[in-house]
Symmetry: C2
Subunit: 171 residues, 2 copies
């Protein structure tokens, strides 16, 4: 990971990159979550429905019956990728991949999170109140933003906090 | 992972599920790859352009300058998710998540893989011959197929081999 070649290909974070990241985070209704299998540590990928807190922190609603719920209970380290490809080369389209620590939302947060999440994901009304479902916060720690070939930046935690503020300020 | 509750929600693999899985694998031009960060073991997610071998084995073309290249060199365990959501609930749309072992394709395989991959991903012609790019086989070992709520199946290696044969037989 520390090869000088790799770091040479990263570009500085610009305002345009920050706005791009905030746009990806605020517009996405799903993302891809990487977690660690609690039995053997194998990396696991799943699709998750995505919301956000009023502070712009990514929020997921997952079932205790899912593999990723057990994985996050055992190890809260995860990675959330958001951004969808369009036509042509799938790698030419922007995405952000955020290393996050997951934390199950406490009961007292539930009513507020439920209202926000269902407003953003109306179909979630069908299962949000099932006993096995719970909200989890995904607190971003560091990220890679990739806006296409030759346009990749590393974002540290402070940079991410600014971007989450931008997400929270969007209408 | 061994909670009886979780296994209870899995459904048996049917021919329709096999056909669904083969369809996802044969039609996808990109997927999401989970790997392990070689420095700290954090799970990582990235979008990858996807092809397949004539045997139906998933194939990726990745740059030595990417984080996932270094990760796969250090630990070949990875997970490939394919399947795109459509309208409505993102979780209602089918996806397959395959635990794979990655192996860099040897030089003698390159010409054949290049021809197949570029036919499927024409834009890859722009970078396929760059010195830092290489093909990797992703050999599926086990998988979870999720066709929407209440329609999840576990697929073992033998089941996956049958599905890859079905992919290979498609026109």
């Amino acid at each position: 990971m520390s090869s000088p070649d790799r770091k040479d290909v990263l570009t500085p974070v610009t305002d345009a990159m920050r706005t791009l990241a905030a746009g990806l985070l605020s517009q996405s209704r799903h993302g891809y979550l990487a977690v660690l299998d609690p039995e053997d540590g194998w990396p696991q990928a799943s699709r998750v429905a995505l919301g956000s807190t009023q502070d712009g922190v990514p929020l997921i609603l997952i079932s205790r019956l899912s593999a990723h719920f057990a994985a996050l209970e055992a190890d809260p380290r995860c990675c959330l990728l958001v951004g969808e490809p369009g036509k042509g080369d799938p790698l030419a389209h922007a995405r952000i991949s955020m290393d996050c620590t997951a934390r199950q939302a406490p009961h007292e947060d539930r009513a507020g999170l439920r209202a926000r999440f269902v407003a953003w994901q109306p179909k979630a009304a069908l299962y949000v109140d099932f006993a096995d479902f719970a909200f989890w916060y995904l607190q971003p720690q560091r990220a890679r933003l990739n806006a296409g070939f030759g346009k990749a930046s590393a974002l540290d935690r402070d940079e991410l906090l600014l971007i989450l503020q931008q997400v929270a300020a969007l209408p």
